[in-house]
């Protein structure tokens, strides 16, 4: 009898708790505290800019304190959902540009259209990034910064292989990479280029380079388009590129474990394709021989379109300090701070602030994910990663894998 109760109790605890409770990890904005959620990128890369914004804000708002809480990309949305349930949301939240649409559509954020003029350079916001923060013509997200993707490489190895200038076409890049590979074949585990096979930001750049796309809209519905001839051509080119430059063992890695720059710092690769800030972590030994160039397109002389990653800043609808939140965002995205972000290798949020760094040159051609409410579910459902590992391990042909992924994308994007 008792054991039945114990068993039932344990079952209930095990399952009920998972489903029914959600704990909020934030402190409510009490009195004059502004709670800000930023990603760890800011904590690691530009804490000084955050401090500068806080200082400015506190100078203008005596008596206020700013509590900046750093979040991780992997779980910040689940945490945010929990705070919504508990009426405990932060006052400002950084959102990835691919994450915005779902939350704007559900009414999670305050409409900031009438405050737009308060934000520096708002008439020149990067159009791609600004679009990610807009829903039905209204502004819900203030562009924070963007980033494109570039090749980070070992200048010494390229030089030693007799390569005098960065490649300007994909074909040339493959030839160069092979040269480096042959030269370094004595180093066990060396790959001339290291990216995780499932790093879909890389793979889909090939799709867009060949004129393909992830999904189109047709008669008010989303239709997955990775199985279109152009997309398949791009994926096929990616597979060829991968096979020529990588060791097979990375086919099922997504480029976060280990990080590509870690492999770089261990001397096991000559190049990475990723965000420009990868230079941060290529290791003391190789710091002086770390260079960057724009990933070349298969069309000679052009850059390959890179994923335009970026972040927006939004004010959750439940915040009770909306005016202060807007003021803080304005301080954080001031011209001075955006210039400082640019100096750290990021793309600033407005065209009038653009410089000519390799990151900004790479952004001349870029692509972005479909702006569908359920796009974030495609990402979190790992549909693209599954497709890529199937292609690269040879489990399925490019066409078969692309077809399955396309069907899944169509289904996910059209969910009510």
């Amino acid at each position: 009898m008792r054991s039945r109760v114990i068993a039932a109790a344990l079952a209930v605890v095990a399952l009920g708790v998972v489903a029914a409770t959600a704990s909020a990890g934030v402190q409510r904005a009490q009195g004059n505290t502004l709670t800000v959620w930023l990603q760890q990128d800011a904590q690691n890369g530009w804490p000084d800019i955050v401090a500068a914004a806080n200082k400015q804000f506190q100078a203008d708002h005596p008596g206020w304190t700013v509590s900046v809480q750093y979040q991780a990309w992997t779980d910040h949305l689940q945490k945010f959902d929990a705070t919504i349930a508990g009426n405990d949301t932060p006052d400002v939240i950084e959102m990835g540009n691919t994450e915005m649409t779902k939350y704007m559509a559900a009414g999670a954020f305050s409409d900031l259209t009438s405050f737009k003029s308060q934000f520096a350079n708002s008439s020149n916001w990067l159009s791609g990034l600004a679009k990610s923060g807009m829903y039905r013509g209204n502004v819900f997200g203030v562009p924070y910064y963007a980033g494109s993707r570039v090749i980070t490489y070992r200048t010494d190895l390229f030089k030693k292989a007799g390569i005098t200038k960065p490649p300007t076409s994909l074909a040339q890049f493959i030839v160069d990479a092979k040269k480096v590979g042959v030269m370094e074949k004595g180093v066990k585990g060396f790959a001339p280029l290291y990216v995780g096979g499932e790093d879909w930001y890389t793979a889909l750049s090939f799709v867009y380079d060949f004129g393909g796309t992830i999904a189109r809209t047709h008669a008010g519905k989303w239709v997955g388009a990775l199985d279109s001839p152009k997309s398949v051509a791009g994926l096929t080119a990616f597979k060829a590129f991968f096979d020529a430059t990588q060791s097979k063992s990375t086919a099922t890695l997504d480029g976060t474990n280990p990080w590509p720059y870690t492999v770089f710092s261990q001397g096991l690769t000559a190049a990475n394709y990723g965000p420009a800030w990868y230079t941060c972590c290529t290791g003391a030994k190789y710091k002086s021989v770390t260079g960057q160039f724009v990933m070349p397109s298969h069309t000679a002389g052009k850059p390959m379109p890179g994923f335009l990653g970026g972040s927006d800043l939004a004010v959750p609808a439940q915040s009770n300090a909306k005016a202060a939140a807007v003021a803080w965002i304005a301080d954080f995205t001031s011209t001075q701070n955006e210039r400082a972000l640019e100096a750290k290798g990021n793309i600033p949020n407005a065209t009038n602030l653009l410089g000519s760094s390799v990151n900004e040159r790479a952004a001349a051609r870029s692509w972005f994910v479909p702006q569908a409410k359920h796009w974030v579910d495609v990402e979190n459902g790992n549909i693209l990663k599954t497709m890529l590992s199937q292609i690269l391990t040879g489990q399925l042909s490019v066409k078969q894998a692309a077809k399955v992924a396309s069907q899944n994308i169509t289904q996910t994007l059209n969910e009510s």
Partner: protein, 316 residues
């Protein structure tokens, strides 16, 4: 308890005294606090869970703090989802394998403990307690380091020992290998509890029975099957049923070891399916429906064991 109460009222039927009244109600008074606490910490959440499962409750409703009742629609959509059935079958197989390995290995180690010298027993027990004390999240991290395809020590050692070329071998390529790695982690973590409990139960086996069987010339497996097993059966059954409950609803180990980036329908276990549908897709109503179905399944599975256990108790 029921039987005891019946006899109590039987022999004192004719005397309706204060003592008898008090005597009859004492068990209920004693059990009342437990019932109240259970009701508060289990009943209320379950009530809410059931309510949630009957509602359309997504991100929009979360923000409004208000769901829409849609009857059994959530249950219908889960039951008609092929992923649910595939996940259920996978989870049952996973549970059977994990519980089987845990109980099998655990019993073997416990039997070993009986035979080894005190020193060895002390060392093994200390090792087991250390394993038991390790939080799952930490264990996952250690597993990930050891099996890392680029820098992991497992690949290094296997290659050095000439077991094969494990240079940059990825231990997480297919759903099967992913779940196999999770199995190693779970069985490793679950062994201490089983070993220590079974070892304690083995101490209850009357020595003279074993000796008598030995004198009669019974082989050791027969002694185990016919003498030892019946005595430790109740313990084995409760351990098995607890393990089933734990392994069926397991979440932490697979979610963290496989990693969010590699969680796909082809490697879902029920706990992960629930998390993906409920939290990641912010469809809380559907998530609640899944958790109620899981609850029903686990309850159904444990009923078999609990009933068998009760029967074993009666024979004794």
């Amino acid at each position: 308890m029921g039987a005891a109460a019946a006899t109590a009222s039987g022999w004192s039927r004719r005397r309706l005294t204060r003592e008898r009244l008090l005597g009859g109600s004492v068990p209920y008074v004693l059990v009342a606090p437990v019932v109240l606490v259970m009701g508060a910490i289990l009943g209320y959440p379950i009530y809410n869970l059931v309510r949630l499962s009957l509602q359309r409750y997504g991100l929009f409703e979360l923000i409004q703090h208000h769901g829409t009742y849609i009857g059994l629609h959530n249950f219908g959509s889960v039951v008609h989802d092929p992923i649910f059935w595939h996940t259920l079958v996978r989870t049952i197989v996973f549970t059977v394998v994990n519980v089987g390995l845990t109980m099998g290995l655990g019993t073997l180690v416990a039997l070993l403990l009986v035979r080894v010298s005190t020193w060895v027993r002390l060392l093994v027990t200390a090792g087991l307690v250390l394993v038991w004390a390790m939080p799952p999240v930490v264990a996952v991290q250690v597993w990930q380091w050891m099996t890392n395809s680029q820098n992991g020590v497992v690949n290094y050692i296997l290659t050095e020992l000439h077991v094969g070329d494990y240079f940059q071998h990825d231990w997480f390529v297919t759903p099967f290998s992913q779940l196999a790695m999770v199995t190693t982690l779970i069985v490793w973590g679950a062994l201490p509890f089983v070993v220590i409990t079974v070892y304690a139960a083995l101490a209850q086996v009357p020595h003279e029975l074993v000796e008598a069987a030995e004198i009669d010339g019974a082989p050791s497996w027969r002694i185990f099957k016919d003498v030892t097993m019946p005595v430790i059966m109740p313990v084995l059954l409760i351990l098995t049923s607890l393990s089933v409950i734990w392994d069926f609803g397991v979440f932490t180990q697979p979610y963290l070891l496989i990693g969010q980036g590699h969680i796909v329908p082809s490697n879902y276990l029920m706990g992960i399916y629930l998390f993906e549908e409920g939290y990641v897709r912010t469809d809380f109503g559907r998530g609640a429906a899944i958790s109620i179905l899981m609850l029903a399944i686990v309850a159904a599975m444990s009923v078999v064991y609990v009933r068998r256990m009760l029967r074993v108790g009666e024979v004794e």
